[in-house]
């Protein structure tokens, strides 16, 4: 199966006067149509950097200084501003980390949805509105709420509006950057269920970003684990669950107590542990890639 999105050796740098930080360091992975790829890792490891790099949304101190991003064969990094504009959302849509802030607070929900529809499809206002109603129904929000302003909706509703908006143009790839971290568990489950439903219906691919391993294991087909800008392990979810090879992945998985079964003492990752000199991925089993060597471990034991 040919990849929908193919990222190779992507390097993103944040260049400031004093130093330059690699937000993403030679990151490579691909997503096939209809696949849900999870990207996990601790805060600051570069997950959002990758996501935003794909849409070329990163701002000034950031630059993409290496690698390639191909979407369905075309090179995203070569697109002009205009090409990019029509590519965005039509082909790849994105749901940001906080729904609270990704809706324009002074514009009605309806107008924000219609904005998308009318920018990309030349449709009449009325048609766009009808479509907006349909989208709201899709995510099970009363279409009456179209008249509302974002602050009049609950966090979960807002996140669903964004998801509805993301589905508006039937994109082939949906990037979800921690779409539920700010939400309560119950709402979180609802949203995820909805995403699954929509994915079944429309068949888009998903790049799903979170640091919650249990969530990730529950949802994703394949999982990539990032650490300090690098991918340290990439494997199907089922493989990773019990067969993680990289120490960091193991620590991540070991950080989540279970809601069932006997109480086991977990250790997680000890404070001050740092992995350095992470190598390129090596395929250790079919579809299971691991960065070689356990790298350096600097730990102060508890």
């Amino acid at each position: 199966m040919s990849a929908l999105l193919d990222i190779e050796d992507l390097v993103v740098e944040y260049v400031s006067d004093e130093r330059s930080v690699r937000g993403a360091d030679r990151v490579s992975f691909s997503i096939t149509p209809g696949e849900i790829l999870g990207l996990a890792g601790e805060s600051g490891c570069g997950k959002s950097t990758v996501a935003n790099a794909i849409m070329r949304l990163l701002k000034d101190p950031a630059r993409i200084s290496g690698g390639s991003i191909r979407f369905d064969g075309s090179d995203v990094l070569q697109m002009s501003a205009d090409e990019l504009r029509s590519w965005r959302w039509r082909e790849t849509a994105m749901v940001f980390q906080s729904a609270m802030n990704s809706l324009n607070p002074v514009m009605r929900i309806a107008d924000q949805i219609i904005d998308v529809l009318r920018t990309h499809n030349s449709m009449s206002r009325a048609a766009a509105r009808a479509e907006a109603v349909r989208l709201m129904e899709l995510v099970r929000i009363d279409p009456d709420r179209l008249k509302a302003y974002p602050h009049q909706l609950s966090g979960g509703q807002r996140q669903r509006v964004v998801i509805a908006m993301a589905c508006a143009l039937r994109p082939r790839l949906l990037i979800l950057d921690e779409p539920t971290t700010a939400l309560d568990v119950v709402v979180q489950q609802e949203i995820l269920a909805q995403i699954k439903d929509l994915q079944k219906e429309f068949g888009f691919s998903v790049l799903f970003i979170t640091h919650d391993m249990s969530l990730m294991l529950e949802l994703s087909d394949r999982i990539g684990v990032m650490y300090a800008g690098r991918i340290v392990e990439l494997a199907p979810a089922s493989v990773l669950k019990n067969g993680a090879r990289h120490a960091y992945t193991q620590a991540l998985l070991g950080a989540f107590p279970s809601i069932t079964g006997p109480r086991r003492r977990l250790t997680g990752l000890a404070e001050g542990t740092r992995f350095t000199d992470i190598g390129d991925l090596v395929e250790v089993a079919p579809g299971h890639f691991v960065a070689p060597g356990d790298a350096t471990l600097k730990t102060e034991e508890l």
Binding site: N52, M55, L57, K59, D60, L84, R85, S86, W87, R88, W89, R90, A93, M94, F96, Q97, S98, N101, S102, L103, N104, P105, V106, M107, D115, V116, T119, H120, A148, Y149, H151, Q152, V162, M165
Partner: protein
């Protein structure tokens, strides 16, 4: 609506406080304003008028709790006393003829400064590092650092006297009669240009920078990123998303800056002999016309409060978050 009512309440309280401040001023200050005034207006006041003045300015021996309600009542019923320097014209009448000019001058310069300043700010924030972003703000700040009156005098001498491009004083040409005619209106506009410009020059830098800074903040908001991800046109993002939101603090600032504009107008009016309240206030101060001074102050304050109330109403229209669903 509740929001509006609450704001209205606030402004009423604020107005009440400024009336009280007005009440207290002559009573707390050292000296006896009435006798200072009397020495100016030898023999022109009769005993009953002097008595009335004493009451107004609190130089009678009654306790304050008797004076205060009476004072409040006077002010509320529009009795601000009689002007001394313009005796026997009542203060309200003197003020009435000046207020429109100050409003015209203040409003014009505010609108120009706000529109141009904010537009420049938006554009500067939109194109970071451009000439507009790098060189214009420092220049405007420098311009804004000059005292209002200094700049006004500079303009007056360079353009009014030196080049003869603009009228030197007054709100309209002598001999014209106010009317809604093109001749009159254009004449008023011609007289308005220089005073308004001097205020605009001083204040525009602040607007531009404030707008630029909020826009820069707004530009890094998630909803702007989202709008970009949605593939909207840059102009649409700039105006419907970024500026709309960045405007909100600017609207609040308009209210705040009305006081500054009025202050600036005061100095400018003096320089340009523009017949506004500020100009009259100076005349009142020079003539030690305390009732007129106080009346001016109350009127100016009232106008500023009213303007702020109107701005609050506008704000409610602009920011749905304070609106009640």
């Amino acid at each position: 609506m509740r929001f509006i009512l609450r704001r209205l309440g606030f402004y009423l309280v604020a107005f009440w406080l400024s009336i009280t401040l007005n009440f207290l001023l002559p009573r707390l200050m050292p000296g006896d304003p009435v006798s200072r005034m009397l020495s100016r207006s030898q023999g022109q006041l009769d005993p009953s008028q002097i008595d009335s003045l004493r009451r107004l300015l609190g130089v009678d021996d009654r306790p304050w709790w008797e004076q205060y309600p009476e004072y409040l009542w006077r002010v509320i019923t529009g009795d601000l006393g009689i002007s001394i320097s313009r005796f026997p014209t009542p203060v309200t009448e003197v003020i009435g003829s000046q207020l429109p000019w100050t409003l015209l001058l203040g409003f014009t310069s505010l609108v120009i400064a706000v529109i141009i300043g904010n537009l420049l700010g938006i554009l500067a924030a939109w194109r970071r590092g451009s000439v507009l972003d790098s060189f214009v703000p420092p220049f405007l700040i420098f311009l804004g650092s000059f005292p209002y009156f200094w700049l006004a005098m500079g303009l007056l001498y360079v353009f009014g006297i030196g080049l003869g491009w603009a009228p030197l004083s007054h709100a309209f040409s002598v001999g014209l009669q106010p009317s809604f005619s093109w001749v009159f209106i254009s004449d008023v506009a011609a007289h308005l240009i220089m005073p308004a410009l001097s205020i605009v020059f001083v204040s525009i830098g602040g607007w531009m920078l404030a707008m630029r800074n909020t826009m820069i903040g707004t530009n890094s908001e998630d909803y702007i990123l989202m709008a970009e991800a949605k593939g909207l046109r840059p102009s649409r993002i700039m105006f419907a998303y970024a500026s709309r939101n960045a405007m909100l603090p600017a609207v609040t600032n308009i209210g705040m800056s009305i006081g500054f504009i009025v202050g600036g107008a005061l100095l400018t009016e003096v320089v340009f002999a523009y017949p506004g309240v500020g100009y009259q206030l100076m005349a009142a101060v020079q003539g030690l016309d305390y009732p007129l001074m106080q009346g001016m102050f109350l009127t100016i304050t009232g106008a500023v409060l009213l303007a702020n109330f109107l701005i609050d109403i506008i704000y409610v229209r602009l920011d749905p978050r304070v609106r009640v669903s």
